[in-house]
Symmetry: C2
Subunit: 227 residues, 2 copies
DNA sequence: TAGATTGTTAATCGATTAACAATC
DNA sequence: TAGATTGTTAATCGATTAACAATC
């Protein structure tokens, strides 16, 4: 039944990660009065393979596309909406109201994508009791009761690295089932808890490295030839 | 020679994205006085397959591991360092000194990963001339000369979505060759420019969706059986 | 020697792309 | 009908995992 080495960390890129791109672009088309959109057009604008787009849409669309015209814009938006769960607005809590925590807590774009960060927690007594754009900041002690009362299952960790595991443990104890981790430490969690690491420095390191690789490509080819 | 549909956007996950994790963990071991580390140990702590770790290390390590003891800690750190380019500190500029821009501009962790964000640009005249933890904020007009004078090749976009393409174009014009994009729009760039999109709302949407999938797994299995 | 670990070759898995028939 | 587009089946590609011989 259970695979031997399955980590509790799940990635699941692909379709799901492209859906917001489609949604965003199709919304724009809708605003411009367009009634239908083809996979070809989407693919061009988003720099993707049209077949890939078609497969993605096939997964989420409730109706088939029309051979000559493509997909109906309104219907498609509704379907993506529905598939991503945009409309049943998931709720989350956030721990660590530092600068990154504040961005997430106050960024209205998250709401547009179906996520409502209900409240922020912090251990700093001077922050507790304050509000940021309507979002309350509460002391850590209130976390358990709030999470359980509201049945919240998603937690966001934006505390310093050395406190992340501790906060994570507390979240798990409260019943949190998915954690979005901005600290740069691998979290230990029970098998049934999902962890998604957001690793900004690492992302940038990858970009810088790719750039370096690309620049040295010509040279490398020569070297291989020599070999 | 050139593949038909290759987008200029490069992902290159895998090894490269795990290197910082290794580095971080091995650093800790070094601080604790350990002299060698095995792929098995690394794998356990980072929730990875040991063979995968070994393959990753084989790519970066300048010397082979020792059959019974593993890899020498100091050597391995130096090799990862070197491979990622941590020590030759890449330089970047940032455009859009809003809340996200400020985080990146002032986050010391980036420096540790080999990236120095030299300066921030903003079109707001009230911001220009200010400093944030030693980082100057300059008007957009100064971008071109500074980028060219310093030979900077990495640009970070943290402006509102509707200005992203415009800023991107300016960067390209200055000679920027890699762009880290925090705006939620697909950027159009020439073939030789790398783009890496950082898409927070989307990441979270994926996490929430995965959680929902997981929860409904039991039910789904039943439904399939019924089918 | 026995045991832990390494590195490599082959198998598996999942995602993307190519090829193509079907539709309006 | 011709042409643009769809959806599907098979091929390709890359990354991960399994199996195993080699080493200290």
């Amino acid at each position: 039944m259970s695979k031997q080495n399955t980590p509790s960390l799940v990635v699941m890129k692909s379709t799901l990660s492209r859906l917001p791109l489609y949604y965003s672009y199709i919304s724009r088309l809708e605003a411009e009065g367009m009634e239908s959109v083809s996979s070809v057009l989407l693919a061009q604008h988003l720099n993707l393979n049209p077949v890939l787009v078609r497969k993605d849409l096939a997964q989420v669309s409730s109706v088939a596309g029309h051979p000559r015209t493509g997909f109906e814009v309104k219907q498609l938006l509704a379907d993506i909406d529905n598939y991503m769960g945009y409309n049943k607005l998931d709720e989350a809590i956030l721990v660590g109201v530092g600068s990154m925590g504040r961005i997430l807590l106050t960024n209205s774009k998250f709401a547009k994508f179906g996520l409502n960060i209900v409240v922020g927690f912090d251990k700093d007594p001077y922050l507790c009791g304050l509000q940021l754009e309507g979002k309350h900041i509460l002391p850590m002690e209130k976390m358990e009761s709030l999470v359980q009362r509201m049945g919240i299952r998603i937690g966001i960790i934006t505390v310093p690295d050395d406190q992340a595991q501790d906060v994570c443990d507390q979240m798990v104890k409260c019943g949190i089932k998915a954690i979005w981790n901005f600290a740069f430490v691998p979290l230990k969690v029970p098998e049934d808890v999902l962890v998604k690491n957001e690793n900004l420095p690492s992302s940038l390191a990858v970009l810088a490295h790719n750039l370096a690789m690309k620049s040295s490509k010509a040279n490398k080819t020569e070297r291989i030839a020599e070999n």
